[in-house]
């Protein structure tokens, strides 16, 4: 199944590396935005940064009435923000986006635009009572420690990202913020190699992790005829504690791009779902359907924009989403690029007038 995956060049893997090593917490996407703009500016007919910080770009197609297709990928990642400093020089913080408090202890972090190195520690086990170990540590009881000399350099409002560096182990990539820098990398690649039959409206969005906020205004501004959100979704494949089968896995790595039928924010346009499946099966591109459930992507905001926009989400499956280290399979990344390109290349205006279901 995997032998058909397209070979990816070092350039795009290098792009994933620089995108995932960059910090871009919701509302502070500047580092990612800089990479995006420098990557796309010579390949688009125009681009601008809007009021929220979205990067909106247009690449014209052939002919006057090319279908206007919006593709979105969110630049922001989950993280945190410094709230205050205590009397001993340690920093209170809160998380931004859905981060489980149990993922925070013992991690190294980068604070602010200067990437000040810091750590989140905990009381040594030798000084911890057994009953304390049975309770989670609340975020309010954790601190960011920049060391006694470093503590004066950070300020309330500084954003915090995990300090994880990209690692590759054969076909496996380990990094933070694979959600959704993989989507950002794919959208950059699409901008560079867009099919000529469509007008590509690329939206590199902000604030997805705190409520799909960038996509909402991006969709209004771009006013597309249809939209595809490119995102990352959890591959929650581990067995249960007693080794029984886990039937709620959401998606699986190594099984191809994840096509959404419905999540917590969107019922995807059935014609677009069918189109994706048809193309994948015709070309032998591996794909999987996401188990319908909770969660949301930019499509959740886009499909409700203006008078309604037919929308679909396609995600790359990743393990351990919203934690310091996520894992993805390089073939899923390559096959997603392949599938989305082929879907766009064979998009026909008739899809929009065909019967929905």
């Amino acid at each position: 199944m995997r032998n058909s995956a397209p070979q990816l060049n070092n350039e795009i893997i290098g792009l994933v590396e620089s995108l995932t090593n960059a910090s871009g917490i919701s509302g502070g996407e500047g580092e990612v935005r800089s990479i995006v703009v420098s990557q796309i500016k010579s390949h688009v007919d125009n681009h601008h940064v809007d009021a929220l910080g979205n990067v909106l770009a247009l690449r014209k197609g052939e002919g006057k009435d090319a279908l206007r297709v919006m593709l979105s990928a969110h630049m922001d990642e989950v993280g945190g923000m410094i709230l205050d400093i205590d009397q001993d020089g340690f920093h209170y913080f809160d998380v931004i986006g859905k981060v489980d408090k149990r993922q925070l202890i013992g991690k190294s972090v980068l604070v602010g635009t200067d990437h000040l190195p810091g750590v989140i520690g905990c009381k040594p086990i030798h000084l911890t009572k057994p009953h304390e170990m049975r309770q989670p540590v609340e975020i309010n009881d954790l601190r960011i420690d920049l060391s006694p000399e470093g503590s004066g350099k950070a300020h309330p409002g500084d954003r915090i990202s995990f300090s994880t560096r990209f690692t590759r182990n054969g076909a496996v990539m380990l990094a933070k913020a694979l959600d959704d820098r993989l989507g950002v990398a794919i959208l950059i690649d699409l901008v560079k190699h867009a099919p000529e039959n469509i007008e590509l409206l690329a939206a590199f969005t902000v604030q997805e992790e705190i409520g799909l906020r960038g996509a909402r205004v991006a969709a209004y501004a771009l006013n597309p005829q249809l939209a595809i959100a490119l995102d990352a979704t959890n591959a929650n494949e581990m067995p249960a504690w007693d080794d029984s089968e886990n039937i709620y896995y959401n998606s699986k790595i190594g099984h191809g791009p994840v096509i959404y039928v419905a999540d917590g924010a969107t019922i995807c346009d059935p014609r677009l779902v069918r189109h994706a499946i048809t193309i994948a099966e015709r070309l032998g591109i591996p794909y999987q359907l996401r188990q319908p459930g909770t969660g949301g992507t930019d499509a959740g905001a886009i499909h409700k924009s203006r008078s309604g926009i037919p929308s679909l989400t396609i995600s790359i499956p990743i393990r351990n989403i919203h934690t310091p280290i996520s894992i993805t399979h390089i073939d899923d990344f390559g096959n997603t690029i392949w599938l989305v390109k082929e879907m766009l290349a064979s998009l026909d205006r008739s899809l929009l007038t065909s019967e929905r279901a």
């Binding site: 911890t128 006694p148 000399e149 560096r165 182990n169």
Partner: protein, 344 residues
């Protein structure tokens, strides 16, 4: 910093031992390895034979994890040494199988755990390691008993402050190395045995077996102690960068505590007295009871977040510990042992 990048789990200290051998080789007369893997560096004194000898022990092993099984493409594991499972989810690791494999510790969601977990911390037997590799590849690469170390890279926070895994007890290894460097330009009267001991985190086995083999007249353990950090009690913890601690308690000879305090005062090396009511939980406990008994001392370096992958130390405290040890050895006279009496 190099010391913080290599593994050296209790009982499997070779990777770190090789680094220490390289650092000590030019500083000592000979190196040898004990039956349990401890590294002995010998530096002959210039006094008349038979010369007294002093042993300085710093354990080089670190806490870590061990593979207990493979399940559905994931790895189950247990711990070596004391590890708070609450510090594990999301932690990067290296599994030392037939090849080194990068992975991450994952916390299954509540519905994959026994009933009643909710948002409670997940115990170590239910945590898993994810490598992203298919089950068949794992079966060919990793098996039960393989070692797992933390892959957290060392961090330089400021000029003096570093953080990383295994500062317990690599901070002390660095201090002992600095001590040997300082001794290199001096000719102490006493013989010196520098020992990088094994298996401290599993009961101090390396230190007391080396003590038995080398039979020193005095022994000093150098280890880490608790620095103030959020949530720690006010007593029994020490300021990071505020100096070393000089131990006082049953496992320490009171004459040595007095001698070290006098020396530190004279040299104006900042220190705190560390009160140790029971056993110290360091190499000193075992060394004291070796053979017919050895007068022991414990010098400690305060670190924050002990036994997490983000332990933090101030390099100035490491330098202070190295200097204090070296100066103590340099001023030892041939008849020091006769002065070390119980003042009852």
């Amino acid at each position: 910093m190099g010391l913080l990048k290599v593994p050296g789990l209790s009982g499997y200290e070779k990777p770190v031992r090789l680094l220490i051998e390289d650092a000590w080789r030019p500083l000592v007369d000979c190196l040898s390895i004990s039956k349990l893997g401890s590294l002995h560096g010998y530096k002959a004194g210039n006094g008349n034979l038979p010369r007294p000898s002093i042993l300085i022990s710093t354990h080089m092993d670190a806490i870590g994890l061990l593979v207990t099984g493979l399940t559905g493409g994931y790895i189950r594991f247990t711990k070596i040494g004391q590890v708070d499972p609450r510090s594990l989810p999301g932690q990067g690791v290296t599994i030392h199988g037939r090849k080194s494999v990068p992975g991450v510790i994952v916390m299954p969601p509540a519905r994959l755990l026994p009933p009643g977990y909710g948002e409670k911390p997940v115990e170590i037997q239910y945590l898993l390691i994810d490598t992203g590799l298919p089950h068949e590849t794992l079966e060919n690469t990793i098996r039960v008993g393989d070692l797992i170390s933390f892959s957290q890279q060392p961090l330089q926070l400021t000029d003096d402050i570093i953080a990383g895994h295994s500062l317990d007890n690599r901070a002390s290894v660095a201090a002992l190395t600095l001590c040997l460097e300082e001794l290199h330009s001096h000719s102490p009267v006493w013989d010196v045995w520098a020992v990088a001991s094994t298996q401290e985190e599993e009961g101090g086995v390396g230190a007391y077996t080396s003590g038995f083999q080398l039979k020193p007249d005095l022994a000093i353990a150098i280890d880490v102690t608790f620095a103030h950090s959020p949530g720690t009690p006010d007593t029994g913890t020490f300021p990071l960068g505020g100096g070393v601690t000089i131990g006082w308690g049953a496992s320490i000879h009171p004459g040595l505590t007095a001698a070290f305090r006098d020396l530190a005062d004279r040299l104006e090396i900042p220190y705190k007295l560390e009160i140790i009511p029971h056993r110290s939980g360091t190499d000193a406990d075992g060394l004291q009871m070796t053979a017919e008994g050895i007068p022991c001392m414990l010098i400690s370096i305060p670190i924050r977040y002990m036994h997490t992958p983000v332990e933090m130390v101030n390099m100035r405290d490491i330098h202070r510990a190295g200097r204090l040890l070296a100066e103590f050895i340099i001023q030892l006279t041939p008849n020091f042992m006769e002065q070390l009496v119980w003042k009852d």
